[in-house]
Every structure is written in C-alpha cells, then in structure tokens.
C-alpha cells in the first residue's frame, strides 16, 4: 500500500501546508481517553483527530493508551507502592509533603550563628572598654599624684619657712 510516490506527495503536502492555529486548549486527557475507548460522537472524533494529526505527543499517548487496554502489567515494586500509599491517610487528612521541610532547621541554625557573633562582639567590646577605662584611670591617678607633689613643693620654694635658713635670721636680728 505504501508507494514511494504517495509518500512523496505526502511530504510535499506537509512542506507546503500552513498549520491552522489551534482554537483553544488541547483536548484533555479525558477526551483522548474517550477517543481511545471509542466513546465519542462523530463531531468530537473529528476534533480529536484534527488535533492528533498535529500533536505527536498526544498521538503517542493515544497509542500507549490503546496498548494499555490489551496489556497485563507486572506489579510495581513494594517500595514504590508504600511510598505512594503514604501520601494519604494522616490524622489531619492533609497530603504529606513530597520534600522534607528543612527550612525551619536552617532558620534555627542561622539564628544561633548570628547570636554567637553578636555575643562575641559584645564581650570583646566590654573587655576593650574595661581595659581602656583602667588605663585611663591609672593615667589620671598618676597625673594627680604628680600635681599633688608639685603643689606641696612649690609654696615652700616660693615662700620658704624661716626655719629653712636660720643663719640669715640670726644675722638679721
């Protein structure tokens, strides 16, 4: 039935035709499944076939669905079955998240890290402040002592008591 001339005509037609813009969304899985099961009316069949001619993936799905109707499938591995079964059945009837929630653990670790850094800075600052304060106090104490010493010597130098030079006083009288 397949002639090289017929194939050439088909290729020529494909190269020259303009694919008509699709009106609306592709037929969903239910439409394709209905077509595969032979449950569509003539109008719907024509619409689905028009789509299939331009959608290789949909045509692959149709062929696979037709094959599935006749096939007997081996059971899936028990691990896969258990994993899928675990998706439903929790006390609050919510779906178990597919990925484990690691975000909260990461947030705690980050908080602890930043707290440690802040505490280190605080301790270092206090230590430095303390050292600096002590140094300042020592310096001021030294200055005070020197000043006191100067204050005690200077008046005697400027106005010495008479007993300091007794010979002069004797001669004066």
């Amino acid at each position: 039935m397949k002639e090289s001339g017929a194939a050439a005509l088909w290729r020529r037609w494909c190269s020259q035709r303009q694919t008509a813009p699709r009106n609306g969304a592709a037929p969903g899985a239910l439409w394709l499944a209905a077509y595969a099961d032979g449950r569509l009316d003539e109008t719907a069949i024509e619409a689905v076939e028009a789509w299939l001619a331009d959608d290789p993936a949909a045509l692959d799905d149709l062929i696979a669905a037709r094959t599935a109707l006749r096939a007997k499938f081996p059971a899936a591995p028990e691990a896969a079955i258990a994993r899928a079964a675990a998706l439903v059945g929790h006390a609050d009837a919510t779906v178990v998240p597919f990925r484990p929630r690691a975000v909260q653990h990461r947030a705690w670790r980050t908080a602890f890290a930043w707290s440690g850094i802040a505490a280190s800075l605080l301790v270092t600052s206090l230590f430095g402040f303390t050292l600096g304060s002590n140094a300042y106090l020592d310096l001021t104490r030294q200055q005070s002592a020197q000043q006191a010493a100067t204050d005690s010597v200077l008046p005697e130098l400027l106005d010495p008591p008479t007993t300091l030079f007794p010979a002069m006083e004797d001669s004066a009288t």
Binding site: L30, D61, P74, V88
Partner: protein, 187 residues
C-alpha cells in the same frame, strides 16, 4: 482470557480521602502507571520518582484531578495511562529542559529565515482530520495498516479507503498546481 486491568474502584471513597480506598487504588494501578511513565522516561530517569509524581498529582488539591474524571466518558485505565504519560513529560521538562549543543546543529539550521514566504498553496481543509491522521501514521510513523486501524478504532479496510481518498485529493491538487494557471496554458 481477558488481561485487562479491572476498573472497579470506589471513586467516592477515594475522593473523600479514605485511607483504605487510596491504598487499594495505589496497589491496583501502580504497575500500570509504571509502565506508562516508562514509555516517556528519558535515559537515566528515576522511574520510581516519576511514579510518585503521578500519584502526588492525583491526590493534590484534595484529589482535584480524580474529581475531574468521568467514568461514563472513558475507562480509568485508559485515562490513567494518558495522565501518567503527560505528568512524566511535564516533570522531566521542568527538571531537565531539553537542550541541544550548538555544535551538533548544522549551520543551515541556524540561518536567518527568509521572510519572503511563498503564499500557502494548500487550501484549508483539503484533507479531513482522519485523512491527515492516517497519512501521518503511515508515512511519518511508518506504522502498518493493522496498527493504525487498532489505534483509531476502525477496521483495516477503512484505513485503506481513507488513504486512497486522501491520495486522490493530493494527486488532483498537485497535478493542477504543476500544470500552472489556466491563462498560461492557452495558446
């Protein structure tokens, strides 16, 4: 001897989220879904992950997808096969978008397209949807008549007849097209 997967399942219990119904559904259809995703899985893909993604999609948003299924329109096995393949393709496309190395593309394919296109010569609707579908499967997919008949749900003679009518249309069209406009042939 029938080898079909039985479609008897309590959909209402499934949609209500009953654990027993879900476990039974998983156990019954996991094999079918695995076979379906195997057909579209890329090399190196984790089949178990793809199967899990299909089940996640089925129970997502309080079983929204299963609620959209109508048993009066199509069988559950057929519908699940199509949903599984579609989901597997979507997942793989999201995780690993198909990419072609630039060096492997012939230079001619990278050329800038000439925008001066020839006018479309094929009248819209010249071939019926079924005719296009049959020719696509015959010449693009290299399928046999019996296979095509089984896929589209008709007998093989119908496929041959469809092919014959399509070829008549194409030959007529291209014969006229090759002959040129009538004004050129006069005189």
């Amino acid at each position: 001897m029938s080898t079909r997967v039985p479609d008897t399942i309590d959909l209402n219990a499934l949609i209500r989220g009953e654990k027993g119904a879900w476990d039974g559904f998983v156990r019954r259809y996991a094999g079918l879904i695995l076979a379906a995703v195997r057909g579209v899985a890329r090399e190196g893909a984790e089949l178990d992950d793809l199967v899990q993604e299909v089940f996640v999609r089925l129970c997502k948003d309080e079983f929204r997808l299963i609620k959209a299924y109508d048993p009066a329109r199509a069988g559950l096995s057929t519908w699940l096969t199509i949903v599984a393949r579609s989901t597997a393709r979507d997942v793989q496309r999201r995780r690993h978008p198909p990419a072609t190395p630039l060096d492997s593309v012939p230079e001619i394919m990278l050329a800038v397209e000439d925008r001066r296109l020839e006018p479309v010569k094929i009248p819209e609707g010249m071939l019926s949807p079924r005719q296009k579908l049959v020719l696509t499967m015959l010449y693009d997919r290299d399928m046999e008549v019996a296979e095509i008949a089984q896929v589209i749900g008709v007998d093989p003679q119908t496929v041959r007849s469809t092919h014959h009518k399509a070829m008549l249309k194409l030959r007529t069209h291209f014969a006229l097209d090759d002959a040129g406009p009538k004004t050129e042939r006069r005189g």
